[in-house]
């Protein structure tokens, strides 16, 4: 059930981002009020919950990848931990790039 709940937050967060885009298109004042809402207690709480569920999604998604795409090399099964680990490595690189692009 947690998996399904995570989809709710992932979807609603993405919709919220689209609202942000819409506010952006409506000019600086509208965008300003959006940023204020993001920084409000409710906004931070929503972001935090969404963040936790997004991480949960990543953990479970990477976790089942060895089952859905088992790798065999040299006639032997590649240990699942390696497949999962490789995903987290790519995740770390992608996360770093995103943080740099946004301009942390």
């Amino acid at each position: 059930m947690l998996r399904e709940v995570s989809a709710v937050f992932i979807g609603s967060y993405t919709l919220m981002l689209i609202v942000g885009l819409l506010r952006l298109s409506q000019g600086p004042a509208a965008y300003e009020s959006f940023l204020n809402a993001v920084q409000s207690t409710a906004g931070v709480t929503l972001s935090l919950i969404s963040f936790i569920f997004a991480l949960y999604h990543s953990v479970t998604w990477f976790g089942v990848t060895p089952k859905a795409m088992p790798l065999r090399m040299g006639g032997k099964a590649v240990p699942p931990a390696i497949i999962v680990g490789a995903h987290w490595l790519v995740w770390a690189i992608a996360s770093l790039l995103i943080l740099l692009w946004v301009g942390v």
Partner: protein
């Protein structure tokens, strides 16, 4: 072959799930959580900087890909969940779930085109 469009539906779902798994935590952190918690300066997301950052075709494509695929992933997951919870009006559920995803995607597309 008795199958219909299931592979397309599932491929989009899997792509959205994979994309979300790789980029969503960082996106949430850098766009709203970091700013909300005060760990990222507000200037990073200022109006001018954001509009400038979304100018390049690459940026627009990236945002559209993220929006469309992740919305599709969530919509499909929720549709399946409705079925699992015993809601049998699959046609209506599809309309609502995929409809919202479509509307969100179109909205994002229009905004990005106009920037």
């Amino acid at each position: 072959m008795a199958s219909s469009n299931k592979p397309v539906v599932w491929a989009l779902f899997a792509a959205g799930g994979t994309l979300a798994a790789f980029v969503l935590p960082a996106i949430i952190f850098s766009l709203t959580l970091g700013v909300g918690l005060g760990w990222i300066p507000l200037e990073s997301l200022s109006y001018e900087r954001t509009v400038a950052g979304l100018q390049s075709p690459f940026a627009k494509l990236a945002v559209i890909a993220v929006v469309v695929l992740i919305l599709w992933h969530a919509a499909h997951r929720l549709r399946i969940t409705a079925h699992d919870l015993g809601v049998y009006a699959d046609g209506l559920v599809m309309l609502i779930c995929y409809g919202i995803a479509a509307l969100g995607s179109i909205a994002a597309f229009i905004v990005l085109l106009g920037l």
